[in-house]
Symmetry: C2
Subunit: 367 residues, 2 copies
């Protein structure tokens, strides 16, 4: 199963894995797909640099990529302290009250509260790009659409392809006009930031809009070989999968988080919710007692990006430390219903490829 | 392109068209698919009988089916008058105020307000089944899941297959255990009543749950041959399409409604909204000034089924008579983005089949 995407990225199989885990990303690249490391968790560029050094040694000389969260125009932004001052007390009170009610302990005494995730800030995302371009990356993907023109230009100078996520055909058109090489058509059922239009509808719409100028990757809901084949049927050149890798042994190597993995393995496809509580923009999360609390009558409206993530930053650390599968804050797509055990990346890749190939063979017999 | 569905229903192509228009249903059956006539609009069983007589003469001796809206258990229900008394005045006031604000005229003097749609009532849906079973129907589909056991039994005695819509795998399992022959896996992006889980995720999940016992039809978002091929890739035995036929000349023959068709043709895939305002249960509608009015701060919560439809029944008639494309009340799926002209059913069927076949050929070359 080869498409134009394979030649373009120098990969064996038309499968791209987005993941915050370097262990997952490297394993996917080694297995013949393209591992794409999410950078948003790196507040410190030097830390990202060290992880990419690790990637350079652990992908078996196969290509890999990075994913940043960068608006195409530079917004007004302040320091961490300025932004924190913009979070209303009412919101802080709700978060504190909710964590108490859900039995989430304070962080252990002496354990410092870490910084909020700042990767959403333009300046921080730009530092990620600077670091990535010093490594032999094959792809820079941007979760917020087209990166600024100078970033696209610098990537192209180094022979690095640029991908951008799109939830509407008009976004995809704009991305391609601004020089983006690959469009990721991400449907409503995807984890994390996601739009209204479902993958089944969105992918052919974006292929019709830009497919003659840029390969389209299908994202949202994909976690089986049948779905990869369906993505190809819709006109995509490959599949972009994110959530599916959260229930892997390699993911646990990076983040720990066994309660989170237990919660994912137990969840069905109807156990997600699309909400603004994670970042301020609509994102699909695992439905847990934490997300449900934000639907209660006493819950405030989530704040805009980046304030909401600053608001919930300490809560995320407390929740993560508490290791309670019923109180988890985790972006995941509806594909969570297919994630029923913690397994290894290589095994999952093999299974996906075999099923995709079997599906193409089955479809061939229908003609 | 033949699947087990073709043999089972005696049709040439694995495509089922759900439509309230007998002209569309007959044209689809004549073109080798299965036309399934929606019965919910027939308050009077004799009227349905006459329309099915017409179907018997106009399908070219090809099979056709009917679709009813019948809960599997008999709910408490009253007469039209009893039910009308349960509609709060506050809701009536909001509807009247909104129609005035949107410039929707009163019905012309002397024109009587028709009855509300009563097809949602169990007794009325049962009368539809009684009538249908006097005709040579090949299929009875139920939009609300498994019909009651005696209905399934009577259908089977006459060699009529029973289909049921499902928005979750657990529903599909229950349907099959209760004797349903075919499951329609209807994703979030579908028009009308619809659940949370998107077609890309739902179809393989339902195939895995019941596919060894009942063929599964994919529904929700389908309006191209690529999507039909994708549905087959996901494991479906065929496609169930509803919204797509609303922008046809045959549909206009049944209902008129040129403003409605103009609105559909102009709409994009992001111009729908899932709301309870049509029937009291979540249903996807075209987003217009009418649906937007129900999101305003002064709008009441929609009433439960069947009261909400009784509440908006006169409004629907006024809206329909007003012929304003900006004020339309119409269930339609996200596939509305692909409906860009009013065309004939035969032409659309030919195009869908050609593209599906081309897609299967293209996929065959990827191996």
């Amino acid at each position: 199963m080869r498409t134009d995407l394979c030649d373009r990225l120098g990969i064996e199989h038309p499968m791209v894995a987005f993941t915050p885990s370097e262990h997952v990303a490297a394993a996917v690249s080694r297995a013949g797909g393209l591992g794409v490391l999410g950078c948003v968790r790196f507040n410190d560029a030097a830390e990202l640099d060290a992880v990419l050094d690790w990637m350079d040694r652990n992908t078996g000389d196969r290509p890999y990529g990075v994913d940043v969260v960068m608006p195409s125009t530079v917004p007004t932004e302040g320091s961490d302290v300025d932004l924190a001052a913009m979070v209303p007390q009412q919101h802080r009170d709700f978060v504190r009250r909710t964590l108490d009610r859900l039995g989430v302990p304070e962080l252990p005494a002496g354990q410092e509260t870490g910084d909020a995730v700042l990767g959403w800030l333009h300046s921080v995302a730009r530092s990620h790009v600077d670091v990535a371009l010093r490594h032999p990356v094959a792809l820079i993907a941007n979760a917020l659409g087209s990166p600024p023109p100078d970033v696209i230009g610098r990537a192209h100078e180094r022979g690095v392809q640029v991908a951008a996520l799109a939830g509407k055909a008009e976004h995809a058109r704009r991305h391609v006009e601004q020089g983006v090489d690959l469009v990721v058509a991400q449907g409503h059922e995807a984890g994390g930031h996601t739009g209204e239009i479902a993958t089944m509808v969105l992918v052919p719409e974006i292929v019709d809009a830009v497919g003659d100028r840029a390969p389209v990757l299908a994202a949202g809901g994909i976690g089986s070989g049948r779905q990869i084949a369906a993505a190809l049927a819709l006109g995509a050149s490959g599949a972009w999968m994110g959530s599916y890798w959260l229930a892997t042994r390699e993911y646990a190597q990076t983040t720990g988080g066994s309660a989170m993995q237990r919660a994912l393995v137990a969840a069905g496809s109807d156990d997600t919710v699309r909400t603004r509580i994670y970042t301020g923009k609509p994102a699909r999360l695992l439905k847990t007692r934490w997300t449900e609390a934000w639907s209660e009558p006493d819950a405030p409206e989530p704040l805009p990006m980046p304030l909401q993530n600053i608001l919930v930053s300490e809560a995320h650390q407390r929740i993560s430390a508490a290791e309670d599968p019923e109180v988890v804050s985790m972006p995941v797509g509806q594909v969570v219903g297919r994630m029923n055990a913690v397994r290894g990346v290589e095994e999952l890749m093999g299974e996906l490829l075999r099923e995709a190939d079997d599906t193409l063979a089955r479809l061939g017999r229908l003609r």
